[in-house]
Symmetry: C2
Subunit: 463 residues, 2 copies
């Protein structure tokens, strides 16, 4: 037991490279979502996040369209529900030169790029940002993404994790195993740029990938960018314990957060890692007002602009079944299911209160944890997360792109005053910044307790 | 026949995202190639190119390593021969915010990204640069690239073009066919971002790709970025006539350039396009001195730092056969070939002078057209290209990254004075800028004579 003050909370700001960002609120008068293709707006926002000492800008991403609800993409397209959606890796790159300390995190699913190509892309990004990149590892849950990449059908949940396992293994081999630490010599006199004896073919031959050769790019500051992950299924937790450094979570309350955190930290230890090798970020949406009443008024405004079926469309896409086949406004206790609706029944059965409707349940998925209140109330909530062992807040965009400016202006000063947010950046790469002050302080690279270490030919990385 | 002055020459600056750029000259004292991962250097160079009114920054690229010569990647790695090589799409993105008019062109081979993914990437880049992107369509000639993407062997030259044909067709359908011109509505009152009735699934089902769905990103300023291509084989020319807008060439002399240009322009007309729909860029390497003697001294210096086998390694990789199996310094007339050396014999047979060696022949491939002289001599050479119908110069990096500053300081003023280089940018997207003042002035999009037009649902693009 430690009696010292709990360490600071970290902050990522989560958006989506889409007109309505995460919440499809592109038409809210203050959202400016229609401006999402204007680079100047992103530069301004990235600099504002950096001025406020956010740890990272994070873009959720997906390659398909939400077309499960009513078997149609029409609502998604009409209401810009996380669609259209542009490439966040390109966006991150465009912001590199106008920022210095801000990290850039993005989701990229393992079916999008071949790992040999993705390894080059990650390394290039990490080089040009001087080690400010994080990758949120995702497996695509959208059948439309799979179909458009030529697959006749989406793989099952567990075999998607199996593929992801092999995918990250190829990346470990390329980014950590191929070039030894002292392979790059740059000896001008002897005209030796790199010592080919220290650059190794990875000779990977697996179930999903065959990659015999050497990595295309020399090692970047972090080599493997910081690894985020979000799954909390059994397969997801095991994957996290073996790979992730930071975990996004959506707990119901601090007690639930504590249980999940303790459980996953124990799994880290079982994998030979330290409990402190994991950082937990709670995804929170915030609506702030100078009084509680103002905040509630803003919430009503926000709701008025939101498509009534957004939550159902998003939940249908996430669960892979069409919630339109039953009346979503009937209390769950009164719903009648037929034989083919087993998955919806399971979803309904998980409701804590049978007076809730399917629509209510769906709302909890897409709105993350919505906190509405004054800056002090929001800080209280974050403090409660912190007390439960949470390491960071993943601030999820609500009303397009302007809500974060409110947060920066009104909430950030309160958080800093209370010691809940850093007042300056720690030195070094994103990994060093994120783990500074923890019981697992880190160098620029994944530590040697991480399973990556078995792919290293030699290593100067401390355990 | 026109009696007016020939139109201006266009300029692309060709580099490679690698320590030694194109010519493996990373260890030349002035090359600063070791600095290639420093974003500040690239920003400075891009701004210098823009200040000098270059049309575009262009990165040649490849996904493999030059490992055909002596069946080894050792020389390539040791001497940084276009290796390591980072991702130029990411680099282009990092330069978007610090430039306004400069175009960004890059090679991307059709086996690197699935076309559904690449369409999103291209569109994102074109949006964030406000229409300044060009794509040099290439098929990968390196067996190592194919192997690392899981293919047991490289496809044949002609079937690579067949795949490229289908690849660009998928891109045409996604970027030009899926979203109609007025699909994006952004009606705040009615809460309609886009009209789903005007967003169409492309339903592509071909030999190499199956892409049933809709394009992920709404149309960018150019929709399909400007299309460059470099092949001059029979399959390459046919592909160019059907797809390209700008063609890189390596003619032996102005008369040869004229023949090639006339031939390809005739093929454009056969494809229903105008002869003026094609722009021809000659790839030129330049070493400039204030006197002829100084320029020649710089050439000797450059040669002294260059690996003696670079040309052979590069030529082996390009032709897909190992030039190390015979003595490359024997005059071609004295070479003795055995039965398995048929391809080398064909290469040797193409020599204009039988006293040349294989090494000499290889040098012509990798050095592009090397012009060594005073600014006036270089301008004379460019003027001769212009008189032969050439539309632009693709200035190929020689000595790392510093040679272009010499060119900007000493040659650009002479070119501008003689009307051989623009003094300001034309307005609009890269496509509009490139075609300004030609007999095929262009809007932001591919014109309706281009085969893309058959994939457009409707069109407001003039023919």
């Amino acid at each position: 037991m430690t009696t010292s003050a709990p360490e600071r909370l970290r902050y990522t700001y989560m958006s989506c490279f889409s007109p309505g960002a995460l919440q499809a609120s592109w038409n809210h008068p203050q959202s400016t979502g229609f401006d999402y293709l204007n680079l100047d707006s992103w530069v301004k926002l990235a600099q504002a996040l950096e001025d406020a000492n956010f740890d990272a800008f994070f873009w959720a991403d997906h390659l398909g369209v939400h077309d499960i609800f009513r078997s149609s993409y029409e609502d998604a397209v009409r209401n810009a529900m996380q669609y259209p959606v542009a490439d966040p890796m390109i966006l991150a790159a465009t912001l590199a030169a106008s920022t210095t300390n801000l990290g850039f995190a993005f989701s990229a699913n393992v079916i999008q790029d071949h790992p040999y190509v993705f390894a080059r892309r990650l390394s290039t990004l990490d080089h040009l940002t001087r080690g400010r990149i994080a990758w949120n590892i995702v497996t695509s849950f959208q059948p439309s993404a799979w179909r458009n990449l030529g697959h006749s059908q989406m793989r099952s949940h567990d075999s998607r994790y199996e593929q992801a396992d092999e995918y990250v293994q190829v990346l470990y081999k390329l980014l950590e195993g191929s070039w030894e630490d002292d392979a790059v010599v740059r000896d001008l006199e002897k005209a030796v740029y790199a010592d080919p004896g220290k650059v190794h073919p990875i000779e990977h031959e697996g179930q999903y990938y065959k990659v015999p050769g050497i990595q295309t790019v020399e090692p970047s500051p972090q080599r493997m960018p910081v690894l985020f992950q979000a799954g909390t299924s059994t397969a997801g937790r095991e994957f996290a314990a073996n790979n992730a450094e930071a975990i996004f979570m959506l707990p119901m309350d601090p007690a639930g957060a504590r249980r999940t955190i303790d459980g996953i930290r124990a799994q880290f230890v079982e994998c030979g890692r330290r409990a402190s090798d994991a950082l937990f970020f709670v995804s929170e949406s915030v609506i702030v007002g100078s009084t509680e009443e103002e905040a509630k008024r803003k919430l009503e405004e926000f709701r008025a602009y939101r498509h009534e079926d957004f939550d159902l469309i998003f939940a249908s896409s996430n669960f892979g079944f069409d919630l339109s086949v039953v009346d979503p406004d009937t209390p769950i206790a009164d719903l009648e299911f037929n034989a083919v609706q087993g998955q919806i029944r399971a979803f309904a059965d998980s409701a804590p209160d049978k007076n809730l409707t399917l629509r209510d349940m769906a709302a909890t998925l897409s709105a993350n944890l919505l906190t509405v209140g004054t800056p002090e109330q929001i800080a209280d909530k974050f403090e409660a997360w912190q007390a439960a062992g949470v390491n960071g807040i993943n601030l999820a965009s609500v009303g397009g792109y302007l809500d974060v400016y409110d947060f920066i202006e009104h909430v950030v000063p309160v958080l800093k005053k209370r010691g809940l947010m850093q007042k300056e950046y720690a030195p070094g790469t994103l990994r060093e910044k994120l783990f500074a002050g923890t019981e697992s302080p880190s160098g620029p690279r994944l530590n040697d307790r991480h399973p990556v270490s078995k792919f290293r030919k030699d290593s100067t990385v401390p355990a």
